[in-house]
Every structure is written in C-alpha cells, then in structure tokens.
C-alpha cells in the first residue's frame, strides 16, 4: 500500500509538530496553504495556534468553501484552535466557525498562559478507555455537545475530545506529547460516503 498523505493546515500554528508525528507513523505529511494543496490530501489536521489569525487567513485566502466541502466527507481533526475553527458555535462573536461538528466552544476557557496545565485524562479509542497525558495551552472548553456527537476524551471531569462521523476535535495537544495514539486513530478514520 502506498503511504497516505495527511494534510496539515499550515496558515499559522504548531503544524510542524503534527507533521513530525505523522512521519513517525510512516505516513506522508503535506502542508496545506492553498486550495491546490487541499486537493492533494486525503485527510486534514487543523493545528493549534491562534484561532483569530487562522480564521482570518482561511477567509483571506478563500479557503472557507473548499474546507467546508472537504470536511463534509473526509476525515478532519482540529486540536485546540482547530477545535474552535471546526465547532458549530463559539462564545466569541469575532469567530465564525466552520460548523463541521455540532459542539459549542468557549475560548481560553481555562484562563491565561499561567493557567495552562498538563494532566492525565482518559481517551476512549476503538472502544478501549486508556490513560493519556494531556497538554492544555490557553485551551478552549467544549461547553455543549449535540446528540450525534460522541465524547471520546475526558480530563478533570470535562469532555475534552469529541467526534462526529469524520470530524474529530481535541481541546488538548497530542502533538506536544510522545504518545502517537491519537494520530494513529485519526489516520484510521474513514471518509464518509455521501
């Protein structure tokens, strides 16, 4: 089987760390900055970064429609800022999210950088619940989930990861740890047939 190509949205953020994890799993990372780049990938990660900047650049470079089209079928995963970009609604009126997953998100909900933290949570991957070290940096919270959304990660009593068909979101940063379990899981996610 030829290596699969995993797109990483590289407008701004920690896209390089996602690429490193994808290489470790013997898949091929591909930076996505244009519509043409997006056509060449099978699945897409929207990395951590600043959601205001990422959103502005999505609109400046006319990526909103192509991303919506891509996200209707193909596997997409948003970490931290990526979660905000993919969500259905955000507590900040300056953000117009892509509404690809039925959750509402609250930005910087744990506080400022001084409140960033690392803690052990649990992740349910392939129906097996396992401990997972989770890094939260000025992280958002998932404040509500629609009925078709499955919670897949918990930390400090809250849902910090969720999934709806082909769309995965995590409020934390698996790419900042040495554990590739989430990346492995994402690489196995199926596209949705329409």
């Amino acid at each position: 089987m030829s290596k699969q190509t995993v797109g990483v949205l590289a407008l701004q953020g920690d896209f390089g760390l996602h690429c490193r994890m994808i290489e470790r799993l013997d898949a091929r990372p591909s930076l996505v900055r244009t519509v043409e780049n997006l056509r060449e990938v099978d699945r897409l990660i929207i990395p951590g970064g600043e959601s205001t900047a990422i959103q502005l650049l999505i609109d400046t470079f006319n990526l909103r429609e192509p991303l919506l089209e891509f996200g209707r079928r193909r596997p997409v995963w948003g970490t931290c800022a990526g979660l905000i970009v993919l969500s259905d609604s955000v507590d900040d009126p300056a953000i117009h999210p892509l509404k690809l997953i039925d959750i509402s998100a609250a930005r910087n909900a744990y506080g400022r950088q001084i409140d960033s933290f690392i803690d052990e949570g649990t992740a349910c991957i392939h129906a097996v619940t396992q401990p997972f070290q989770m890094v939260f940096i000025r992280a958002p919270k998932i404040v509500s989930l629609g009925s078709h959304v499955t919670p897949i990660a918990h930390c400090r009593g809250e849902v910090v990861g969720a999934m709806q068909r082909n769309v995965l979101v995590t409020a934390f940063h698996p790419e900042l740890t040495d554990n590739p379990a989430f990346h492995e899981f994402f690489l196995e996610l199926d596209a949705v047939s329409l």
């Binding site: 590289a10 701004q12 953020g13 650049l57 931290c80 400022r112 933290f117 890094v135 000025r138």
Partner: protein, 292 residues
C-alpha cells in the same frame, strides 16, 4: 536540561505562535488593530523602539494600567517587555498574568552583569540574541523562545539577517562536530555542554527561533522566514508606517506564504509608505541596542 511540565507549557505556547506575527503595541486601540489584522500575539510597551531611539531617556516596562487595558481589549496572548536583569519588573508582569515576558535590550538594562533567572518563573520568557552562544546562554537561564536582536527601531533588516545567518550557520557547523569538539565549543560560547549537544543533535535551537529587529515590509518578513525564522516580531514597522492596518495584514499574509513570491507580491500591493529607515552606520555605536 530541566524538562518538567512547566518547561513543556512554556515552549508549547511558543510552538502555537509559529508561522505568525507578533506586533508591538502601545495602546489598547493598537492592540485591537493588530488582532484584527491577524497578529498571533501583541507585545505591550511604553514606546515603540523608533521613538525610544529618537527620544532617549530611560525606557522601562510599560505602565501596568496600559497592559491591563490591552489584556482586556484582545483575546490573543499578551506579551510585555521587562528590562534586562530587572527581575522585579518581571515579577510584576507575572502577577499581572501576561502570557510571555520579553527580557529586552530595547529597554534600558537594569543589570549589566546578570540576566533574570527565568527558571524561577511560571510565565515563559523570550530573549534576544546576536549569535548562537548568546541564544544558548539565554536558554540555559530558562528562556523558552529566542529571537534575533536585529537593530530595533531602525527599520533596517540588515542586523536581523546577520544575527539569523550567524545562528543558523553555527548550528550547521555543530552538526559536523564530535563530542570533544562540542565540549570545546561549549567552553568558547560559555554555554552548558548539554544544551550545545542537544542543539547539534536537533539541527536547530532547542526552543522556537523567531526573528525581530528591523522588519518593516512583507518582503522583510519573507526574507527572515526563508533564512530559518519560525515567526516574526514587528516593532515600529507597523505603527510607524502610513497605513498600519493594511501593513499589519500584509506582513501577516507574507509570513504565512513566505516561500511563495507571488503571494508576497500580492500582499505588498495595497500598501502606503513604510516607516523611515536608518543606515546602521549612521547610528553612533553607543546608541546601538543590540550590544546591550
């Protein structure tokens, strides 16, 4: 090196800023303009470097009131500068919960022998450098992000280019060295051998490596990114230009698409005049900020 969870969080935030532009602001209004233009963070200071250079006097940490207003005005991380060695200013900034502290040569140094012991803080620090030794010494003091010093407030990119090239080529030389040679390099640079070894092993600084000091145009940002910077700081370049919102947006776009000349061209089109620039040779040596 100490790699506890606090260190991971400090470097982690710097990772999130990569590919972005951090803009100097002196008021809440400027901070809003910066955020709306796509800044990934703002740097709060009392005066932009070009004004510090012109007006002289002692440049200190920004007023806490202004920093608080800036924190209120934007959702992106807020950084602020403290004077080199002024750990009490840094403590105040930490108590104020700024997201990053820049121990900066742009302000008047408070201590000519010691830098702040950055390990004592939970708030991450960025420091400037002119060469690899300076970068690694700052990292060993606890800096979680390094930037070139360049020559702040000059509108002239030449010093930032020099500093980035020196750092990158020195790292490439380290990569070809054996353990004995690395040990000697560490002694010459007055940096801990473990940090030198780690840099050689990684082929890059052990923390994010950003550019600062003299960036005034979209092409300047592209140049620094192509030379190896992972993000850029723009100081006087935005709010000393004729059309700050347009210039801020243009530099953000050029930083994302730094390797695509046509995108940098597109970003450069709708711009007014850049800030005035200074020839470094016209600045008296005692007024150069980079030697602080």
């Amino acid at each position: 090196m100490l790699k506890d969870s606090s260190w991971k969080l400090k470097v982690g935030l710097a990772e999130m800023l990569k590919g972005g532009v951090i803009m100097d602001v002196t008021t809440a209004e400027q901070a809003k303009i910066a955020q709306d233009a796509g800044a990934v963070a703002v740097m709060a200071l009392e005066r932009v470097p070009a004004d510090i250079r012109k007006q002289g006097g002692v440049a200190r940490m920004a007023s806490v009131e202004v920093i608080a207003q800036i924190k209120q005005a934007v959702s992106v991380p807020v950084m602020a500068k403290c004077r080199i060695g002024h750990f009490a200013e840094a403590q105040v900034l930490e108590a104020l919960e700024v997201d990053y502290i820049d121990e900066s040569e742009v302000l008047t140094p408070a201590d000519e022998e010691f830098h702040v012991d950055k390990w004592r803080f939970k708030t991450p620090f960025v420091c400037g450098c002119r060469d690899l030794g300076e970068a690694l010494r700052r990292i060993s003091e606890g800096a979680a992000m390094i930037r070139t010093k360049g020559e702040a407030g000059s509108g002239n990119i030449v010093e930032a280019v020099r500093h980035m090239r020196i750092v990158m080529s020195h790292i490439r030389r380290l990569q070809g060295m054996n353990p004995d040679e690395l040990k000697r390099e560490a002694q010459e640079m007055k940096a801990p051998v473990e940090v030198v070894e780690e840099t050689a092993h990684l082929g890059q600084l052990p923390v994010p490596n950003f550019a600062a000091g003299g960036i005034a145009t979209p092409a300047d940002a592209s140049l620094m990114m192509q030379l190896g910077a992972q993000a850029v700081f723009v100081g006087s370049g935005i709010f000393k230009s004729s059309d700050p919102p347009a210039r801020a947006k243009a530099i953000v776009q050029a930083t994302t698409h730094f390797s695509d000349p046509r995108a940098v061209l597109e970003a450069s089109r709708p711009l007014g005049a850049p800030m005035d620039g200074l020839d470094i040779r016209d600045i008296p040596e005692e007024n150069l900020l980079q030697y602080r």
